[in-house]
Symmetry: C2
Amino acid sequence: MARRPSNDTSSRPVSMADVARAAGVSQQTVSRVANGLPNVNEQTRQRVQAAMQELGFRPSYAGRSLRDGRYHSVGLCVNDVTKFGNLSMIDGIASAAREHNCAITLVEMSKTEEFSLAEATRRMAALPVDGIIIGMSRMAPDFETFDPLPGIGTVIVTMYAHPRVTTVDSDHYGCSLLLMDHLFELGHEQIRYIGGPSFSVDEQFRRAGWQDALERKHIEPAEPLEGDWSANSGYEAGRYLAEHDHTMTAIYAANDQMANGAIAALRDSGLRVPEDVSVVGVDDSLDDFVAHNELTTVRFDLHQRGREVFEHAVPEAGTAGKTVAIRIPGQLIIRHSTAILRA
Amino acid sequence: MARRPSNDTSSRPVSMADVARAAGVSQQTVSRVANGLPNVNEQTRQRVQAAMQELGFRPSYAGRSLRDGRYHSVGLCVNDVTKFGNLSMIDGIASAAREHNCAITLVEMSKTEEFSLAEATRRMAALPVDGIIIGMSRMAPDFETFDPLPGIGTVIVTMYAHPRVTTVDSDHYGCSLLLMDHLFELGHEQIRYIGGPSFSVDEQFRRAGWQDALERKHIEPAEPLEGDWSANSGYEAGRYLAEHDHTMTAIYAANDQMANGAIAALRDSGLRVPEDVSVVGVDDSLDDFVAHNELTTVRFDLHQRGREVFEHAVPEAGTAGKTVAIRIPGQLIIRHSTAILRA
DNA sequence: AGTGTTATGATAGACGGGTTCTTTTGTCTA
DNA sequence: TAGACAAAAGAACCCGTCTATCATAACACT
């Protein structure tokens, strides 16, 4: 014998049938009231609403989803919530999701465990999501071992393109070109690079942009330095450069934190910024943390990126099926850490 | 006429019935295979698994939830993802949720719209959640207009206590006592306060701690200054104090960013830190952004807070029903922005 | 009296997974 | 060969919401 329908409201959420019983009407009438359909007597409507109120009825998400085939939520899988890139991604997506009256189902992978597209997809597949977003800025996506789930939109946040999946990212290559052009215009040519950890894809593209910009002008790039995104690592690198490279006139640090550290190191070494050395960073992330932020940097429109990501993951009519690779350009923010090269 | 059952697999996710048809077995046999139950012939099992693979079957979240009455997700509603407090809360909760194999359903309220417990509860009620967490650090919770949803755990992250709902927060009052005791031990008595915006509850409790600590020692508190949590506002306040208060020997800034700004202002005014003025902050949030972080501060164990929040929102057997008010103490981190008061 | 409108109930089916009950099939023993 | 027993698989039903259909009132208007 299958389970008997139980009438004790204590252990079970309140259903339409419970409301119907309490109000002395049929379940359909409750449905009509709940969904604001016509052909309900005003008196009846009030009686039903009173019963709903009293019993604390709220429609079952599961029942409705089963019926509608939609969840009104988008899945987001990231490696580490606290990383600047991921945080700003969440913010951008949250704002886009809210506009579509959609929630975000967030899964943070363990910081120690292996983070792969395959694993992320497996985890998201079991969740109530109408689309899947996977943030892969830390490492190259494992496209070989990955198959997108059929019948559900998938977007990967990465600089790499995929033939069957839409990928979106801020243009981590182009931002370097913006900054390098700015430095070139100021007359700089000996531009050193302080990068993030070399496994990071963001780092790889930012460094490639720096290198290509130099080579395009037939300038031999000096050895890039490797940091870990933190201000301290930028300081170390800045110290090293101040002591060992007396021809350099500018430093490109791959994020603002390292740039900030590098500036401190240069000043501790007796060099002036920007008079002796110009310094640029990326992200425009210092404002809250540093008074009188003077760093020339690139700002990405993370809300636009969030919107692009969201709308490709949960496509409205028409846009479905097309897979594209979107690179969102950054905007050069010129402050006072860069200056014209003295003759 | 009700909807006809459709057999076109193209527009509909693959169900157990589809797999059963393809494998030539009944739907129940598919269920047995999917859930690893016994009493299935090895040959049959393989045939079913092959069909699952080929059709790309994945169990419907809605169907399973409807059946089980559980969602394996906890709802989290915050005002602004990017605020340090909220971010670290998400991180802590995410890590606790992962341990329970649980996802987070995140709803970010519009930064402009009114953020109330009633509204947050209303939004979360329509989502697939086994528990509800509402972050209310920005303003006093509107307990009057709020009723917790029956039959679902609710936790509010706030310093205020509620008779029928569990509330959890870092101890924003106690952290002030820790810092003030540290400064008292160093001999400081003229301790100025730079706070956050006065509508913030965190601010109110941190300031109350500062004031009570002074009054307990019968020291008249000097007028507190109001910032907006940013380094720039800390700088402004620091400048003002350096110029107008020549008796102060220490500054307590209500977060690290403002403390960092204040230090910069003091140094720009020709004062040395910590020799002339000691400075303390709260949050321990500077490490990534500032090289050689020397700020004495209080660190909160946000993962512990996340765990407490999660486990009270989604109570395992036993803990249900009890409502408590939990205040998680911070830890004093002594660096080099504080020093013994010179005679 | 006849026609139409509005309000409501009764019944049922669809959605997908899981549980219980029942039936069929196969194997072993007396 | 009949009976006992276990393994395998099918049938029915429930979870809660929504919709479709039909039936049945009550009521108004012509």
